[in-house]
Subunit: 359 residues, 4 copies
């Protein structure tokens, strides 16, 4: 396993879904920064389970407890240890299926890689629950970016199933996602998405979707090519979110169909700053931010845990079996992934900012 991410600002992820806690350690956070604990807890609430009928019914308060690195409300320069205790753990369902790898889950690969010694309860280390730690760490990074560099990060759902959000104004992007359960900036699409999720939930099935992330006011110069380019580092961090299967920057895969004359963002001068009218590049040239908003999209697969019978193979008997997963699951994990995308993005941008010496 490799549970450390970052160069100058590093996070270390630990903990399991049904263990004592999930947690995160942050090393390299600048000293003397006033932490807003309430804002951090608010971020936690955005990915918290048990909030509505759209998400898992597991009840977790997800209160972040600080174990080190903060003194009198300010960062000390020492590693910050944040813990979120697991409280509403029900492992009973997992004993029954511990030899039956769930399709679409890490059960099978974890079993072989860790020789059967991995904590299988609730997916253990491979549960989406570990992202609670990501969000806690990301909350600090977001505060740092906003206060020190005026950088803001917004993620929001742009597609669930076949329902796609329309493009909306920046003002709507900033305020709408928190107004609906699916965290979509297009409120009409949001309503449809909610309905669709409830419908599919009744079918014991699940849905995937796409999240867009927007980084406002980035300085020119973030990204350390050739191997720690802005795209490379963001992609690496985002693919650490369970269920992520694709990432694209700017117009993304559409570049395949665009000619250079159309795709190139031409330059113009605006108040002494070189800008582009289009932003097909998603704010990144040569792996380095060009000062335009950074934009990317992330694809999440439908929740692997579904109530329908599925084919699997018993790891002990080596016989085929039919598995029907019980337990509590999100019919669509996209809404809860929105703050996680923001968190990982904030951590990468903060790290690259510190590397670039712009902080």
């Amino acid at each position: 396993m490799a549970n450390i991410l970052g160069e100058k600002l590093k996070i270390v992820s630990f903990g399991e879904s049904h263990g004592k806690c999930v947690g995160v350690l942050i090393d390299g956070f600048p000293t003397g920064f006033k932490i807003d604990l309430e804002a951090m807890q608010k971020e936690m609430k955005r990915r918290q389970p048990g909030q509505s009928s759209l998400v898992t019914s597991r009840k977790e308060e997800d209160k972040v407890e600080i174990f080190s690195g903060i003194f009198n409300g300010l960062t000390t320069g020492s590693p910050i240890c944040l813990l979120i205790f697991n409280k509403d753990v029900d492992s009973s369902k997992y004993e029954l299926i511990k030899n039956l790898p769930r399709p679409g889950h890490a059960d099978l690969t974890a079993y072989f890689k860790y020789k059967g010694f991995n904590d299988y309860r609730g997916g253990g280390r491979f549960s989406g629950r570990i992202t609670a730690g990501f969000v806690a760490a990301g909350a600090l990074a977001k505060q740092l970016l906003k206060e020190k560099l005026k950088i803001e990060i917004y993620a929001y759902t742009v597609q669930i199933g076949k329902i796609k959000a329309k493009e909306v104004s920046l003002a709507e992007i900033k305020k709408n996602p928190e107004k609906n359960l699916v965290k979509c900036a297009d409120l009409k699409a949001a309503q449809k998405m909610e309905k669709l999720i409830l419908k599919v939930k009744k079918q014991n099935d699940s849905l995937g979707g796409i999240i867009e992330c927007l980084i406002l006011n980035p300085p020119v110069g973030l990204g350390e090519p050739v191997f720690n380019s802005l795209e490379s580092d963001l992609a690496k961090a985002i693919f650490s979110i369970p269920a992520c299967k694709g990432i694209e920057f700017g117009v993304g895969f559409k570049v395949a169909e665009m000619k250079g004359s159309l795709n190139n963002d031409q330059f113009y001068l605006s108040q002494g700053k070189i800008m582009t009218r289009t932003n097909n590049a998603g704010g990144i040239l040569g792996g380095i931010s060009n000062g335009m908003p950074i934009v990317f999209k992330v694809a999440f697969k439908p929740t692997a845990s579904i109530g329908q019978p599925q084919k699997t193979v018993n790891l002990k008997t080596k016989k085929p079996e039919i598995l029907k997963i019980e337990g509590r699951h999100d019919p669509c994990l996209v809404p809860r992934a929105v703050p996680v995308v923001e968190a990982m993005t904030a951590l990468v941008i903060a790290d690259l900012s510190l590397q670039a010496g712009s902080n």
Copy 2:
């Protein structure tokens, strides 16, 4: 800059497009491995410029010279230094435009990040030419994977402009791409792609496309979650290839529209091995290879250098100017990116194999 990639098998990239050379250092390559120099040079030939009317007319022999780490034809365990000298360098065009950042290029971001001290000639460090080093290093990784683990890697063009290749058989994937100039496994589509490129070239324009990469016979267990997952490490490496704007694994962005019941790859037993009939996950579960072929797609933008007039801003005078790029460029870089995708993939897979102790 950050020019080191990998954990156990590391590569260090160096050199510039119009400098003395481009090169690569490989640290951590297993000892006592017999290098096939001819096979390495063959890989170089696959990305070599000047091969046809579809690519840049710059003539480079791209002969790899070994400067360290190999003794009597075998690896010694010491770092392997590979150099490719630049021979056909024509920097004259670049003096004229050194203050005119080319749209779609790294000129602007490199200028600001490196305070104007970067070597701008031919894009310098941001030129696609640095991938010659990637291919040289990747050639060794491919040899290692094939000989020690029977892992094979095939990349091939699946889309250029709006022309999409059909799905073809594995046999065709293995033999067809080397038979046509665009490295496509669907020979009919290949013909259309070639024509399209020539047409667009005449328009002084350029084309993007999509490359698919297939890793055959991977063992179960590659990938080090949560942060060095198979997707994370592949994405990081692939985004180091200039012009890459998106990556997706398995069905990729299509997961958004799939229900869990359809997307989950159900398990069955085949000759004592647990397999899946579908491979929507692209051979990866929980960031770890599940033994099925690993599949991913990569989007490349159209070559930024085009002969058409484009708007830019003079970095010295801060005045708008019209830029018309001369010099030699690929109208579509996708065909030459194919061996580069294979190379970066091979390096990541070799690194993760060594980390997993399976080598």
Copy 3:
């Protein structure tokens, strides 16, 4: 700050002397290893404060609590989080002297480096208390080395003040140190050392000393030159122990006075294994273990906290002041450093073993 050590087996140190806890995270520990918790707690007891009149009177149970990574008593491959809560904290003394840097301490440098935001209570992050986490992590490494590779590690005091231990037999090295309060293998010297410490304690003064460390049964091949040589990695880890000021391998600084003909350890064959009769090199040639016992010595300075009046400068008033340190301190930290040296050594050797693939 940089709180992560190791390549394949990594530890992350966190926590402060007077905060909630000190702790350690271990990433990369092999899976399926049965942890002996009692043995771990026994190691903790060896460095525990409050054991005798020779050490600080601070009473800490130093019970290690496992927060992640262990399931059913076995390691899972996930990061192992170990916490030791601080219980007997008395910060009252530190408020009075928070602007008066203690000579010989990190107070001054931490104040400037962390701009006054560091947790100064009890030395905060610079307290010897953080080594409780080292010992906890090291205990697991020691168990792993002993069980899997038959490697054993013994550290013991060889000098305190001017009292030097005589060379004793291996049998005595294995059993004697735990029989006396100063952890010396020469029992006669031990008595003198104990007396000396008590005497110096009464003078409100402190003593330094030297610890020797012996690694028995190392395989040939540990160490990754040129930069992660066995000496480099051991030195780096050992200098992370507060108060360490020197390290030497084999005959160490005495090499200066030896001729090559005397210093070279000549080879002979013993039961099919190439060995040396002398071991001036301390078991290391070219930065790699040669199969002979690895031996090194570490110098620790006298405890900086002494009850005598000392000159300092007030950080706020910028005026000279006389400081008289109260609080509870070890008159000689050497005995409690013995298990810490063993722990750091075990962590390095385990890491290099895993890197060498010999585990």
Copy 4:
């Protein structure tokens, strides 16, 4: 092998003694810095072989050739590749002894670790010759430190065999070492050392010694505890120099015999700056520079290659043999190690300076 050192300023070492070249890559060097090539070459001359009767007669010009990263005499921010070609290679002697590991050398350990595939000629990767690359890289770091931070680094011989240099003034430290062949600041001792080396050379024997290194004008705050402390990072880098067997900071091993009241460097105010009258700590408190000169000593063993007959074991026949080493060797490597100590020190200090953001 692990051939990469540093966090923010990284060097990669490569090449072999009797291969095509030795070299070094520098990644992370600040952009826009004017390189003084003549000064670099002057540093090379200080460790160059063939200069006098005191050192090996191998004739190497040791001209550094720049292969990347410098444009118009200025650093570009790209990796700097420096190569030193091997010219006076005579491998004939090594064929005869390739199965006879030389006592005190890495031959035995390299053979086993790299399974016999290592380049054994002239010690290959384990030759002191690789330090030519260290010196080239270090020369750039020295220039950077001097120009940007006014930091100067002086290393000098303080002991060879039993001849110890007296303490001399700072003025003498700055000018004397370059005036004599042993690089000693005490000119009288220098004469004796030279004589001793010639005498021992005639005996076909070799000598060790001690080098002291002084870092003038360091800022407060260098060092990243707990694991990248100033001592940790310096020790790690210094032990990468072949033949180094010990390092001590400030009074070093003498701390064992000092009481706290004597060892603590008490504070006083001088022109608004907090200083200490003694510098027993060698300028380092809590692993962080305190603004006083940083001082440490390094022990080097006598050259392992001696002309006297020595016992070894044939790796093929597994029979004992008597080995008489021919070839060209330094009777004492200490004088040539002086610039190497300076180089590694400069690289560490530059790296930590960049990490601390003070550059």
